[in-house]
């Protein structure tokens, strides 16, 4: 199957029912997208499909047909970080960082929906992303920081 990943057309040998996560990680070596639960409950595997956040562990390849897939690796352009990444870096959000890619991708999607989100909109939208290190308030801070710039 042909996929559009981070602006590049790529062919996958996997069957259409394969999870997008496994293709990204194991076939394309785009390991920035993480496995956290396999049930769409933790958000670590979040990528964008035409700018919308999806859980790649629960997304079959067939569902990506004709859509633009953006992973964490696709945010940085020629060494320049996406404003959301900049904001996360500035706030120095993370501890173990395993949830980072999913948080950043969800934030990009959030700001696509709500350029100036309220605290409630942030918490609603981000509630599907788990951080066991408990960085949530720092993430909210980074999101507000990014919203001011995006």
């Amino acid at each position: 199957m042909e996929l559009q990943v981070n602006g590049v057309k790529r062919n996958s040998k996997a069957t259409p029912d394969s999870s997008l996560l496994s293709v990204l990680r194991d076939e394309f070596d785009l390991t920035g997208t993480k496995y956290g639960c396999g049930e769409g409950q933790c958000g670590a595997c979040t990528v964008l499909l035409d700018g919308k956040a999806v859980r790649s562990c629960r997304t079959p390849l067939s569902a990506t047909q004709g859509k633009k897939i953006t992973t964490i690796e696709g945010l940085e352009v020629k060494g320049k970080l996406h404003p959301v990444q900049e904001a996360y870096l500035k706030v120095d959000v993370f501890q173990c960082g395993y949830c980072a890619s999913g948080m950043v991708m969800s934030t990009v999607a959030l700001l696509n929906n709500y350029p100036n989100p309220t605290e409630e909109q942030i918490k609603d939208f981000m509630n599907g992303n788990i951080c066991r290190c408990g960085t949530y308030p720092r993430i909210v801070k980074a999101i507000n920081e990014a919203a001011a710039k995006v």
Binding site: R25, D26, G97, Y136
Partner: protein, 723 residues
Amino acid sequence: MNPKKINSEIIQNGSEIVTGTSQAVGINRRQFFKWLGGGLAVAFVWQDTSILAAAEKEILAFKKLPTEQIGAWLHIAEDNTVTVYTGKVEVGQNIRTSLAQIVAEELLVPISAIKMVMGDTDLVPYDAGTFGSRSTPAMGSQLRKTAIAAREALLEMASQTLKKNKSALKLANGKITAPGSTALSYGQIVKGKQLLQTISDNAPAIAVSQWKIAGTSVPKVNGRDFITGRHKYVSDIKIPGMLYGKILRSPTFGATLAAIDVTAAKAMKGVTVVHEGDFVGVAAPDLSMADKAVAAIKAQWKTTNQPSRAEIFAYLKNKASSGQSGGRNGGTTKGDMKAGLAAADKTLQETYLVDYIAHAPMEPRAALAHWENGKLTVWTGTQRPFGVQSDLAEEFKIPEEKVRVIMPDTGSAYGGKHSGEAAVEAARLAKAAQKTVKLTWTRPEEFTWAYFRPAGVIEVNAGVKKDGTLTAWEFHNYNSGGSGIRTPYEVANQQIQYHPSDSPLKQGSYRGLASTANIFALESQMNDLAQLVNQDPLEFRLKNLQEPRLRAVFQQAAEAFNWGKTKPAKDHGFGIAGGTEKGGFTATCAEVAVDRNTGEVKVIRTTTAFECGAIINPEHLDQQILGAIVQGLGGALFEAIDFENGKILNPTFAQYRVPRFKDTPIVQIIQVNRPDLPSAGAGEAPIVAIAPAIRNAIADATGIKLKKLPLVPNGLLVHLKKS
């Protein structure tokens, strides 16, 4: 500032004297400086005069020192790189940053000059593991002394090179300058030299008041790698030609194989099946094939009856021993309990219960195992790389130097990754398949086959006088552990005991260990005792408390929270709790709101004052306190492992609830800096007060005195109806 030089030799380039088969640091069969490329190396050696005396006779101290004697070491290369070697590992506590800060501070180099090599058993000195909040107090202080010794050696060399008195030299930004001379970089100073020096615990440290890099909020040193997805966790590492592993799990704990047929799995192309006793696993070219191969195995298991959650507390109490006393985690007996209770105006006897909970690190266990010429290399996320090295050596009956464990910065642990289950499993598969094997546990595997924070039963009996003086304190913990078991309050008559029991579930360390359970019981009891004598819970605590550091955090948390100055709104409540653990002192105030119709309990805000001596990195300390509060919220409110007859019933995030964005209250953090005191770790202690503070706030709002963790897994309705 003069470190006691135990053994120092400046050896010119090319000398044969320094032939470092440094077994002590695990650099096998390599010449020490050949490997390092010249320069200055300084090793921290635990003080032991007999060993050091012996070492003095040897030109190469490393060679003769047993591994346990070397704590850490650093190397300054001709290209100015400062490389620090430590057995500590990074699991999100940002110790990579704070240890680098300590070295940068003492060496007067920018933080970017420091390269940290951590948790690689071939490269770093032995270390028991990263736990117990020891990295900052123990490793931090060793590295500080090591860096000071390196700085002194650099000054000495520069003084000789520049022919200037040491007092005329100035160190700054990785350079040494003298009036009338051009500046020399550290690399230029050590160029062509091979200096090997050991220092002991005698070396003095720099005054905290002079800190410029330590004590500041240096951002996570490799932070950019994480927000770009570039950092390679173990589960992200690939080696060409590697296979993917998968283990056949038994349906319940304690099951054994009765019959098995692996024919279909074995027939799959490229699949290796390993069946050794009750261990059954496969290695396949990709993960979906590994899944299919395991699914194709026909196995019959013989199960045995196992205890269930419904009976767990009675079970633990029945199986408990009569008690363990002495030691840091043991109990204590003081005065006479009977007399203490007799002297009391009021007594309060209660039983507190604590469920098993899971660490649920976002990165499940993973390992990548590679055999080559009889040597096993395993990448795995563990808090004990040397412990896993030892486990692997034992498993395969090979010497430890034939096992290398490498620990890349890992997706958290919280005390839950002391072990190396995935490492052993991956290595068994790799050995059989004769190829590199990567094994990543699934979330249900992590929830089922890792280990848990222990469940426990805690019985407390206390006596108090009308004026609020505690007269008697009896405290028994069954199964959950001895950490934080002693009361910080002054009580003349005490009997405190930890009773180990026979846990049906695999249990182990957790952030704060048993102190989360013990301080929950202790501070809940203190709250209710205060009420018995009609005293404010803060006043009551302070009346019975002498420890000035704990008093200080109570007072500061209370002040910031406005304790005693405002009244909670209708159906809101305020609670306070505090405690000390692993050298840290913490107090938390919490406000909760109870919905009397739905029974929902919402934590509105928390204020935590925390003190752990001199602060190394304020932002990262903030992270640790915040993390402890948010994680503690889960165990306080709703986290519990449910199990029945050897089976975990809630091994997914859909079933096992962890704190999310919407659960997180306004978290106010007060850092109490004590530059006059040694730095203690901060990863664990701030977790201990959140559960009792919330519990006491619920009691304040409703009068309901909950006695079990988690407090409200199904809301408060069932309790509201009863009351």
